[in-house]
Amino acid sequence: MLRFRTIIIATGALVFVSQMQTAVAFAEIDQQWRPQLSEKILLLPPKHMNDAIEQDFSKSGLAQNMTSVETQLSDQVSAIDQLKQNLSRYEGQEQIEARHQIIVGKKTYIELLGQQIDLKGERLHTKLGLLRRLDRNLTRNTAQQKTASDVAQLQADAKSRIEGISSKLREQIALEPLTKETNFSKAFDKNMAAISALKDAIANHRMQSRLGLDSGATKADMLRQLMLDTEADLALIEIETELLGHMAHLLSLDAMALAEDVAAQSFTVATKAQIYSSPSDAVLLFTQ
């Protein structure tokens, strides 16, 4: 009986621990950005590709986390500014305490900024990974297109020759007494006229010039440009980290200055408390 009870307790503990682990795992997943974009993004006009990527990011847990950290940062900045403005109103111990609060605020700010820089780096690395994946797919598609381009070229050559002679051939067929124009021929002419009108409308549409070319090369160029921009942002992250290091250095110097001031004040208090008698102070007692 006792053994059975032990097994039940152990099983219960195991289930509880596993559920906790699952919850922790979900919490971790929620903080990340897992791009939900497929290769269909390559069908978009080049100018809209970056917008689609940014929109996908804005829906992620990582974006929410970054927004939350950004809010905390701005709160921290306003708190430090407030303390700095009021610093001149304080004196003595109160001023020391205010300076201490400023240093603590700056320390929190630096910690948050470091966290934000890490998150920025994570975002940029994910974006770069996504862009590289898209670039690989585009390169593969372009290679396939090149293989098929021989047949496409032959077909295009034949098409241009046939289009040049088509009207003459139709006239010849129409002149034959026993053959009449086929339904396909009539429908084809009608549809081709409609296609031609639509092509003209497309060419003259005002958005056509804004969208740019939709060829594979342009998309590849755009992807490469986006990758370069992302790598430039990553380089900026490195500089920001260095900047943060300098901030931390300055903060440590501020803290040392505060400690020295506190120590100096303590020495003053101690000096005031311990005033020892000197024979010269009591001379009057003997002379008068």
Binding site: A148, K168, E176, L178
Partner: protein, 127 residues
């Protein structure tokens, strides 16, 4: 055993339907061209019947050739048959190529396979 046979039969019919659902414009053109050439070489029919058959073929070939050049599925085809057909414009697109040369389909075809009057006259009998 009966069930297996029925299943196999159903599978074959469905498979056949799936294959037949794929439109192959080039195959249709080749079939029509083969019929035109068969009419051209048919020694059992008189000149008038041949003329009428070839005229009808010409109209059908003109349509089918237009279908082939507008068939986008051919662009993604890696079949050597497609490449070979498109490489030989003069023999594949008989109706349009003959109109380009201002000749009848028969004269155009004979010329391009090396059976023109000049070529035949220049030939010699050899063992």
């Amino acid at each position: 055993m009966k069930k297996i046979t029925l299943a196999c039969l159903a599978f074959t019919i469905v498979g056949g339907m799936a294959v037949s659902a794929v439109a192959d414009s080039l195959k249709n053109l080749e079939r029509e061209r083969a019929l035109a050439i068969a009419a051209l070489l048919d020694s059992t029919i008189d000149i008038e019947a041949r003329w009428n058959k070839l005229n009808l073929s010409k109209a059908r070939l003109a349509d089918l050739e237009v279908m082939v050049i507008n068939d986008k599925s051919l662009k993604n085809s890696y079949s050597p048959r497609v490449k070979h057909a498109l490489s030989n414009y003069e023999l594949t697109f008989l109706a349009h190529a003959s109109a380009e040369d201002d000749k009848s389909i028969a004269a155009h075809w004979f010329e391009h396979i090396g059976l023109s009057t000049d070529q035949l006259m220049a030939s010699r009998l050899a063992k």
